[in-house]
């Protein structure tokens, strides 16, 4: 079924959704960035929207309200993640659900911080809410949980931030210090100019909160998570770990006892010691041992594939 997509957010993920939608059989009828918007009920030309975004930094002359008022089937919420009240993302979702439209989120804020509010809005709407892209980028974590049945999964844990994992694995492999590797990661575009969201563990924590909400049917927000970053890990700690066949990874856990993110010792060649920007999620099942899902956890096209898989799941 070809669906009409309204894409909010024109960063790496939003742009990739615009670019790849037609390959998945869908059409983009509206796009908004933080200040401008463009709407065409017959379908926008992806190339010209992306071209204008690149040349002028805007997507059109319309307003985001025009997008929300337009005739679309699915709202793709890919604006930057915000904490606390998760605005403006949450209001965008509310507007869509109140109009009985479907919502697909790449934005972690509303799902992590206001999961119960989100589910309440969904219950009163003919539309549905999906957010595969919010956890583990291209890795189908949430659809696997949904297929398997959240009641039969005891816990989820893993490496959910590629930036932190890149830094730790480079430090261990090259014997370099934190500051040195962080600077290198920034040069490579793996880390942002302000890397705090990633290295302090916030991003991984949001993903674990979402996992906890999915596994435990709500009730969690970032305030419930115990979070520690990797800024305090010196090279000497990684050396000592390596001498003993171990290494350090920023591990996030969503278990019945809560959400926890922090640097942890893991076996050097163990399942969870993925290297570089790779992510992995391990689902501890009730009757079937562990399921390990690994892949690219970030990036525009990668995350867009998760968004478009969600869209294609809509009946």
């Amino acid at each position: 079924m070809s669906l009409r997509l309204a894409v909010l957010g024109a960063g790496a993920v939003g742009q990739s959704v615009v670019e790849l939608a037609s390959e998945y059989g869908h059409v983009v009828t509206a796009v908004a960035d933080s200040t401008t918007a463009t709407v065409d009920a017959d379908g926008l030309d992806p190339a010209s929207v992306l071209d204008r975004k690149e040349r002028e930094g805007t997507v059109g002359d319309a307003d985001i309200e025009d997008v929300l008022a337009s005739d679309y089937d699915v709202l793709v919420e890919a604006t930057p993640t915000t904490l606390g009240d998760a605005e403006p993302g949450f209001s965008h979702v509310r507007s869509a659900l109140e109009a009985d439209r479907h919502v697909v989120l790449a934005n972690k804020g509303p799902v992590a911080e206001r999961y119960d509010d989100l589910r309440a809005l969904e219950a009163d709407s003919a539309g549905t809410v999906q957010f595969e892209a919010a956890v583990g980028g291209a890795i189908p974590v949430l659809s696997t949980i949904s297929d398997f049945g959240p009641d039969h999964i005891n816990a989820a844990r893993g490496v959910l931030n590629g930036t932190a994992n890149f830094i730790l694995s480079r430090m261990a492999a090259e014997g370099l210090g934190y500051e040195h590797v962080l600077a290198e990661a920034q040069d490579l575009g793996v880390a942002e100019a302000d890397p705090s969201f990633d290295v302090e563990g916030t991003d991984a924590a949001l993903k674990c909160v979402i996992l906890a909400n999915v596994l435990g049917d709500g009730g969690y927000s970032l305030d419930d998570a115990e979070v520690e970053g990797i800024q305090n890990i010196p090279g000497s700690a990684l050396d000592l770990a390596a001498e003993d066949g171990r290494t350090v990874r920023l591990i996030g856990e969503a278990t019945p006892s809560g959400v926890r993110v922090g640097p942890r010792l893991v076996p050097q060649n163990g399942t969870l010691a993925v290297s570089g920007t790779r992510n992995i999620v391990q689902l501890e099942t009730e009757y079937a041992g562990n399921l390990n899902l690994s892949g690219r956890g970030a990036g525009g096209p990668e995350t867009a594939t998760a968004v478009l898989s969600d869209v294609s799941r809509i009946e």
């Binding site: 005891n154 816990a155 844990r157 520690e228 305090n232 890990i233 010196p234 090279g235 000497s236 700690a237 050396d239 000592l240 770990a241 001498e243 003993d244 171990r246 350090v248 591990i251 922090g262 640097p263 942890r264 010792l265 893991v266 969870l272 391990q282 501890e284 041992g289 562990n290």
Partner: protein
């Protein structure tokens, strides 16, 4: 000296009567005896093995086996002896204490007692915050034994140093041990990198 296992049972008198012969007889002192292994070092002198074994039966332990290698000396010139016994859990401590009171050098008491090994990293100003005190308090508060320590302070005491610590902890008590460690290290601004305990697939 011609001690061997059968000798000892004979000379030990009452020991035989307490051995569980498999018909469900309760061990003296209570139900559910558990198996324990004790490793001893004995001086090569007559009567030493008997001195080492009598505290076991006297305190309600059943000898299961004795591995006594006279030909194989420890670096200190002692004879290593491995004793398997079973006793109610609450008696084990008493037996080990009685052995030590008898002057027996107990190398390791009960694999079950410290059944879990735990490796973790400490990061901070470990030397300036008295590493020795940190370790002693961890052992005391956490009821765990430090079995290995590696320290790395590439910048001397000017910068943070790291330590890798291996602890032997009581089976099933690792969470409590980690809680206790956090309490000790919090006051010294030391970061703990805990091991991830995964359920194996």
């Amino acid at each position: 000296m011609s001690e061997n296992a059968s000798d000892t049972f004979d000379s030990n008198g009452g020991g035989d009567s307490e051995v569980d012969d498999g018909d469900g007889t309760e061990t003296d002192g209570g139900e559910h005896p558990q198996a324990h292994t004790i490793r001893l070092e004995l001086v090569d002198e007559p009567g030493q093995l008997l001195a080492a074994l009598s505290p076991i039966s006297e305190n309600g332990g059943n000898l299961l086996s004795i591995f006594h290698e006279r030909g194989n000396l420890t670096p200190r010139g002692r004879i290593p002896v491995e004793v398997d016994l079973e006793c109610p859990p609450d008696r084990f401590e008493t037996i080990v204490t009685a052995l030590r009171d008898n002057g027996v050098n107990v190398i390791q008491a009960g694999a079950e007692r410290y059944g879990e090994e735990l490796t973790l990293l400490l990061v901070g100003h470990l030397i300036d915050t008295d590493l020795s005190d940190t370790l002693q308090r961890i052992q005391r508060c956490a009821d765990a034994t430090v079995t290995d320590l590696s320290l790395s302070a590439p910048e001397g005491t000017d910068d943070v140093s790291s330590a890798r610590l291996r602890l032997a902890a009581r089976t099933g008590k690792t969470e409590r041990v980690l809680d206790a460690i956090r309490e000790v290290t919090d006051g010294k601004d030391i970061h703990v990198v805990e091991p991830l305990t995964e359920v194996s697939a």
